[in-house]
C-alpha cells in the first residue's frame, strides 16, 4: 500500500508513503488473527486493502485459493468498523441498513426471505426484532455495534475484519461485544482479522497475533507465543507498557521518543532508533527469523548463527 507524496511547482510525485509494506499473513478458518500495533502503523490500511476499499499497489490476496485482487468477492469477507456512530447511516432504518448488502450482491432471495433473514440476524446479535424499524440514533453505542455486526453478517461472509470494534466503547459494553463475537465464531465458524491496540482484548480473543510497526509486521506467532514469550523488543515494550491491574513489580521497558512519521521511516530496521537493544546490524532491515514453526520475528537479535 503506497500513497504518493507530492512536491514542487507541478506537484510531481516524488516519493511514496509505504503505509503497508511487504505484509504477508494467512488466517485459517474459524481462527482469530489479531493485528496489533499503535496508531499510524498501517493496520487499518491493511484491513481496507484486504477488502479492496483501497487498491493495493502490489501483492496478492487469496481467499480459499481464489485471487481477489482485481476481482473482489464482496460476500467472502466483511468489515466491522471502529466507530459505531460513524459506521451507520443516520438516515436509514436498521432494516434498510441490513438489507443493503443483500440487495447489492443480489443474494437472500425475494424480499420476504430477506425480511426473515433480517429477523434472524437481529436475533443472532441480540437485538429485538422490532428494532428494524428504528433509526441508528435511537440506539446506544453497544447496540449500534451489534447492528454493524449484523450488517456484516447479512451476506454470510466467512471472514470478518474487525477494525478496533470495541475501542470506542466502555469496558462493560466492550465485554458484551467481545462475547457476541466469540459466540458468533463458535456458532458460524467465522474467521476474524481483529485489528486492535488493546492487548487485553488480544489475549482474550486471538489465536494468532501479528505485531505491526510502521507498516511492517515485526513479529508473528500464536497468541501464547507472542504474548507469553515475546521476542521482538518492540513487542516486549508494548506488552510492558500496558497498565495492568496485576502488573505490580514487573520489569518495565520504557521506550524513548515517539513513533516516526510513516512518510519518512528510519533507514534499516524501523524500530532501531527507539530500540533499547539496537546494534550496528540494525542499519539493514532484518529478514524474518523462525523461532518455531508458528513463531517468527524480524530482528537481528535472533539471526541464525548471528
Amino acid at each position: 500500500m503506497h500513497f504518493p507524496i507530492r512536491k514542487g511547482i507541478l506537484q510531481r510525485v516524488v516519493g511514496n508513503v509505504k503505509a503497508v509494506d511487504g505484509v504477508s499473513l494467512d488466517i485459517p478458518q474459524g481462527h482469530t488473527l489479531a493485528l496489533v500495533g499503535e496508531s499510524g502503523c498501517g493496520k487499518t490500511t491493511l484491513g481496507k486493502a484486504l477488502l479492496q476499499l483501497i487498491a493495493p499497489t502490489a501483492g496478492s490476496v487469496q481467499f480459499s485459493g481464489r485471487e481477489l485482487v482485481g476481482s473482489p468477492s464482496r460476500a467472502a469477507m466483511q468489515m466491522v468498523f471502529q466507530d459505531p456512530y460513524a459506521s451507520l447511516n443516520p438516515k436509514m432504518r436498521v432494516a434498510e441498513i441490513l438489507e443493503e448488502g443483500m440487495s447489492a450482491l443480489n443474494i437472500g432471495g425475494d424480499s420476504a426471505a430477506r425480511q426473515a433473514h433480517i429477523d434472524q440476524l437481529l436475533d443472532k446479535v441480540g437485538l429485538a426484532r422490532d428494532s428494524k424499524w428504528r433509526y441508528p440514533h435511537e440506539f446506544s453505542g453497544g447496540q449500534r455495534q451489534r447492528i454493524a455486526i449484523a450488517r456484516a453478517l447479512a451476506v454470510s461472509p466467512q471472514l470478518l475484519i474487525c477494525d478496533e470494534p470495541t475501542s470506542a466503547l466502555d469496558v462493560s459494553v466492550q465485554a458484551q461485544i467481545l462475547n457476541l463475537l466469540k459466540s458468533l465464531q463458535q456458532e458460524l465458524g467465522l474467521s476474524y482479522l481483529f485489528i486492535t491496540h488493546n492487548l487485553a482484548v488480544v489475549e482474550y480473543l486471538a489465536h494468532e497475533v501479528c505485531v505491526m510497526y510502521l507498516g511492517r509486521i515485526v513479529e508473528r506467532g500464536t497468541a501464547e507465543e507472542v504474548l507469553r514469550a515475546p521476542k521482538h523488543p518492540y513487542t516486549q515494550a508494548l506488552l510492558s507498557a500496558v497498565p495492568r491491574i496485576d502488573g505490580q513489580g514487573r520489569e518495565r521497558i520504557r521506550l524513548e521518543g515517539d513513533l516516526p512519521s510513516p512518510a519518512y521511516p528510519p533507514q534499516g530496521c524501523h524500530f532501531a532508533p527507539r530500540c533499547p537493544r539496537a546494534m550496528q546490524a540494525c542499519a539493514r532491515y532484518p529478514d524474518a527469523t523462525e523461532i518455531s514453526a508458528t513463531h517468527s520475528v524480524r530482528c537481528h537479535l535472533y539471526r541464525q548463527g548471528g
Binding site: E38, S39, S140, G141, G142, Q143, D170, V171, S172, V173, Q174, A175, Q176, L178, N179, K182, S183, H197, L199, A200, V201, E203, Y204, L205, A223, L227, A237, L238, S240, A241, V242, P243, R244, I245, D246, G247, Q248, G249, E251, R252, I253, R254, L255, D258, L259, P276
Partner: protein, 372 residues
C-alpha cells in the same frame, strides 16, 4: 489534613437534570486520588466544577469545595482566577485540541509564569525552557519557540504538564490525560506524572476509565456511576475486595488471557440517560443482585471499613430487610463465592498477598518504573 475537600457537590444542567449528584471526597497533599467511571458518568464535570469552569448551560447547584482551607464557591471570580493555574492546575484529554494552535509553546507557558509568578521576558523564557526540560522534552531551547502542531501527541501532553507545573500548583487535576495516546506513550506520560508528583509533593486528581491506570497510579479511588460516587476505597482495598456490584462487574468484564476460554461477565444494558432515574439505585436495572428496595429507595452512603465506603443497599445498616440482604451481600463478595475468583490474577487471592504488600507508587516511584 486534606488539601482538597469536596462536600455534597451537585452540578446540574439548566433544565434541572443532575450530572453530578451529591459527591463528597477529599484529597491529601502528595496523594493521587482517582475518579474511575465510564463515559458520561460525570467525572469530567466534577473536575470542571472544582475549577469553576463549567460550560454554558451547566451550573453548580450546591455543595462546598475547600481548597487549602479556602471555600472555592465563595470566592469572587477575580480571586478564583488566582487559584486557577496557580494553586490548582488542570490538564485535559485531548492535548492536540487543548493547546492554542497559533501560539508558540513558550508563550503559552510564559503566560502562566507572568500571571502567577510575575515572571516576564528572558526570565520567563529561561523558566519555560527549564520546565520543558523537566517534563522530558528533548532540545527544549528549540522546542520553546515551536508551535504545538510540530509536536507529537505525547509531546503535546508533556507541554500541557509543563504549563500546569508553571504555576507550581498544590493540586493537579488530570482529566483522562492518556486516553488519546498510544500505550507506549501513555506509559511515558504516566511515569512523568508519578515522577513529578514525588518531586513536588503535589496532590493529583486523576480522572480515568482505565482500571489498569488506576492500579498503577492511584492511592485512593472513587468509582462513579451515573453522576454518583458508588464506591470509595484505597487502591489496595478496591482491588482486593470491590464491594459495589458495579465495581465487581467492571472487574469481571475485563478481557484477558485468563478468560480466553469463557464468556466475559458483561453488564447487560447501558448507562441510563441523565436524570431518567427519579428514585431508587441508579444501577438497579443492570444489577443482578437488586431487589425491590433497590428500585424504590436511593441507597445512602455506607462506610464499610476504614477508608472504604459504598452506596448500596447490600451494605446498608438500617431497614428490616437490609440487614439480611446485607449479610448475604457480604457473604457473596467474599473471596470464596464471588465470580471474581474466576480470575487468576494474584491480587484476588487476598489471603496470600496482603494489600499492604503492594508498593506505594508515590514513595517508591522507581519500583514500578525502572528503565531497562
Amino acid at each position: 489534613m486534606s488539601l482538597l475537600k469536596v462536600d455534597n457537590l451537585v452540578t446540574r444542567l439548566r433544565n434541572g437534570a443532575r450530572i453530578v449528584d451529591d459527591i463528597s471526597f477529599d484529597i491529601a497533599a502528595g496523594e493521587t486520588f482517582a475518579l474511575l467511571g465510564e463515559s458520561g458518568c460525570g467525572k469530567s464535570m466534577t473536575a470542571l466544577s472544582l475549577m469553576r469552569l463549567l460550560p454554558d448551560g451547566v451550573v453548580n447547584a450546591s455543595g462546598a469545595v475547600q481548597m487549602d482551607g479556602v471555600a472555592l464557591f465563595d470566592l469572587r471570580e477575580r480571586d478564583m482566577r488566582e487559584m486557577r493555574g496557580g494553586r490548582m492546575a488542570m490538564i485535559f484529554q485531548e492535548p492536540g485540541l487543548s493547546l492554542n494552535p497559533v501560539m508558540t509553546v513558550g508563550r503559552q507557558i510564559a503566560e502562566v509564569l507572568a500571571l502567577h509568578h510575575d515572571l516576564k521576558g528572558a526570565a520567563a523564557q529561561q523558566r519555560s525552557i527549564e520546565l520543558l526540560d523537566q517534563v522530558g522534552i528533548p532540545d527544549a531551547p528549540r522546542r520553546v519557540r515551536e508551535y504545538p502542531f510540530r509536536l507529537s501527541g505525547g509531546m503535546k501532553q508533556r507541554v500541557m504538564i509543563a504549563m500546569a507545573l508553571a504555576g507550581s500548583p498544590r493540586l493537579l487535576i488530570a482529566d483522562e490525560p492518556t486516553t488519546a495516546l498510544d500505550v507506549t506513550i501513555q506509559a511515558q506520560v504516566l511515569q512523568l506524572l508519578r515522577d513529578t508528583q514525588s518531586r513536588t509533593g503535589m496532590a493529583m486528581l486523576l480522572i480515568t476509565h482505565d482500571l489498569g491506570v488506576v492500579a498503577e497510579n492511584a492511592h485512593r479511588v472513587a468509582v462513579m456511576y451515573a453522576g454518583q460516587i458508588v464506591e470509595q476505597a484505597s487502591r489496595e482495598q478496591l482491588f482486593a475486595r470491590p464491594l459495589h456490584p458495579y465495581t465487581q462487574k467492571l472487574f469481571a468484564a475485563l478481557p484477558g488471557a485468563a478468560r480466553a476460554g469463557q464468556l466475559l461477565s458483561a453488564i447487560s444494558g447501558s448507562v441510563p440517560p441523565l436524570g431518567s432515574i427519579k428514585q431508587g439505585c441508579r444501577f438497579a436495572a443492570r444489577c443482578d443482585q437488586a431487589w425491590a428496595r433497590c428500585h424504590e429507595q436511593n441507597p445512602e452512603w455506607t462506610a464499610v471499613a476504614e477508608g472504604q465506603g459504598v452506596r448500596c443497599h447490600l451494605y446498608g445498616e438500617e431497614g428490616g430487610g437490609g440487614k439480611g440482604k446485607g449479610g448475604r451481600g457480604k457473604g457473596r463478595s467474599g473471596a470464596a463465592g464471588f465470580p471474581f475468583s474466576l480470575i487468576s490474577f494474584p491480587f484476588t487471592l487476598a489471603g496470600r498477598r496482603p494489600a499492604s504488600a503492594l508498593p506505594d507508587p508515590q514513595r517508591h516511584p522507581a519500583a514500578c518504573g525502572r528503565q531497562r
